[in-house]
Amino acid sequence: MQWHFSPETGCPFWLEWQQRAGWDPRTEVQSYADLHKFGGFQDEWLRGGPVRRWVPKGYQGRPVSVFETGGSTGVPKSRVNIDDFRIDYEQFSRTLPDAYFPKGADWLEIGPSGPRRLRLAIEHLAQHRGGICFMVDLDPRWVIKLIKMGEMTMVEAYKRHVIDQALTLLKAHPNIQCLFTTPKLLEALCERVSLKKMGITGVFCGGTEMTPQFHRFAVEELMEGAYFAPTYGNTLMGLAAHKEPEPEDDWAIIYYPPAPRAGIEVVDPTDGSRIVEYGETGRVRLTTLTKEFFMPQFLERDEAERERPCVKYPWDGVRNVRPFSGFATSVVEGVY
């Protein structure tokens, strides 16, 4: 609170917000529980400019990146970044088993780059682990447009175009042992080639919803012994690591946020002040608490079950994240 709401270090957005609100979070917010006083972070605040209003004065003069999320229609949400994506992915790197994601191995990213954080984040992850990252781009906004137009033949053609490029790289660069891709592109890749034959030992997968059945299918039928690391994350929060599956989980995908940099809560969709019980379904609410970005209690477009802490991650997690069923219209998720 001191950093974000001090005139010397805070960003213009929060400093102006503080003036309008008429109270001082530096004195009135004493704990995580007090974050409710902000009344929830509004989605619209991140749409449109000036984007510099989000750069903390404490970071003035530093190189700034801007990453977007959403944007299939209308103005995408933007988040400025200085070091956060590096810190997030370096922390996440510690959760990847070296036996399957060997240090020094090269990576291939098949997925959305462009305005997304992934364009730099996966490359940084690879570099942080001593590897080089090859990339094949995919434009998810175009895919969503094709789906909305009913152009499924073109969707298939585009997917084939992306996978063709990935195969070329995999065949040409034998040191590629680690892969980042999205669930549907992973399926498409495995329809064309054996991961084992291509020398892939670890797959880091994310970007869209994964069901428990997909999780099982991927591990049992696509991986051929490679490690499958599903993730949940976005530009606003960072990256949630998965808990290694155990038989009693019945292939549920369980994520834990990168605390204390970010937290995930599961709240009653009809009463946002109530955190649901463990095992109960609710809407996902994100809070980001880094020095670069303060985002208190942002309601995501997802729902999940609240998960108990575990030994490796002694804080609340989420189970089986999926699009929020309370929306009237479904979200087109596309191939990416």
């Binding site: 499924m152 399926e187 059945q213 299918f217 039928e221």
Partner: protein
Amino acid sequence: MVHLPILRWGVPYKSVDIATVPDFRTRAPYAALSQANIGLIRRDLRRQADARARLTAIPVAELVRLAGEAAEHFLHATLPLDSLSGTTQTPQDYVAQVSATTGMPWANVRRNMAKVHGVLSQVEEVIAGLTRGLDLSVMDSGVSRTDGRMLSFFPRTDALGVVLPSNSPGVHSLWAPATVLKMPLVLKPGSAEPWTPYRMIQAWLHAGLPHDVFCYYPTDHAGGHEILRQCGRGMVFGDVASTKRWQSDPRVEVHGPGYSKVIIGPDMADDWEAHLDLIVESIASNGGRSCVNASSVWVTRHGDRIAEALGERIARVVPRAADDPDAVLAPFADPAVPTRVSAMIDAELNAIGPDGPTGRPARDVTAAYRGASRVAEHAGGTYLLPTIVRCDRSHSLANREFLFPYASVVEVDAADLPSCLGPTLVATVITADRAFAERFVASPHVDRLNLGAISTTKIGWDQPHEGNLFEHLYARRAIQRLA
């Protein structure tokens, strides 16, 4: 709760993703269906050619024999339901299960069982109808000789993908001959009626067919679309909206609403009373749930009197217990649907047709005989009661089809028939006037033509309708052979 697994080329697979099907009466979970994810479907369907090779290796005469055995097993045998848990299904279990999830009375289920049995036990006759009498050995050699001329056929696909409905088990007779036509089947069952296609597969396997020529994928709409995309030929059943995307795809045969009709020719107009039983049967048999049920009656005289008489007769069809042998009507699995459909009909009754001031509102003739409400509760089920609407030809209710016994009665000039009818799956034309009948013979809009007092629901096995399965799966090629 019983569980139905996915069958991946015949191999049972229990999914992590389970959908439950409720008992229509109690809404309590009744059956659990393993759901197939799209990646799994795509991965399996890379092996279509292998499956077809398995079937092509079996002589067609043997397949015909196995079809006969499968027909008997379907009707009489206790068959596996979930081999993973050892659950089995007797014929009576099957009847009760279909009834529990669709609301269909036991008597209707049994009639549909007989229909499926009929197509399998008489498959030679069915295929003779499809191929116009070709020697069946053409399925083994690809070449046949008719009247001294060589004929050759080649398969258009390695598997037939079928997205199935939940309305009535009788529709399964349409794809049932595919196995004898040596075509592997990839089936997506209807969400409320997973039972019939599963039992048909089990009957085949019990008869001795190799298991790896069937896929059975309970899945969502996206999974159904994926099946149709991945198979070289497909069939899809559903309403106008759900089948729209496949209308222009020649690989996929679309089975939407039938808009079947009974037409009384001007020469028989004064004898209408003699045909009331036939018309009621055409409208109401099988609970009005088939595309071959008549949804309108077109006459040239006495429209008001015919509508009144039909209204009075059909109002006698009332809800009965599922196990009552006289039960005809089926309640709706979702109890909210009858209220919505009834409200829609009521709203349209008072709408005037596009003819403007000359158009008249429509009238629900049955209302006077059944009481005011079209929606009725009986023994925990919610029903739509049979409805006869008298209206002008331009009225929006003149050419509609609902999932219960519904028909309009429309009076038109004889000169306008059949051009005013629009697409018609089955037309029963009651006439002795040859010239009038010939106009229907020449009509491009009538798929199945019954000339004379034949119910729209009476199906001749040797007369394929709604597309020809053989022509859908095979194409003829030109062939010459050096002697």
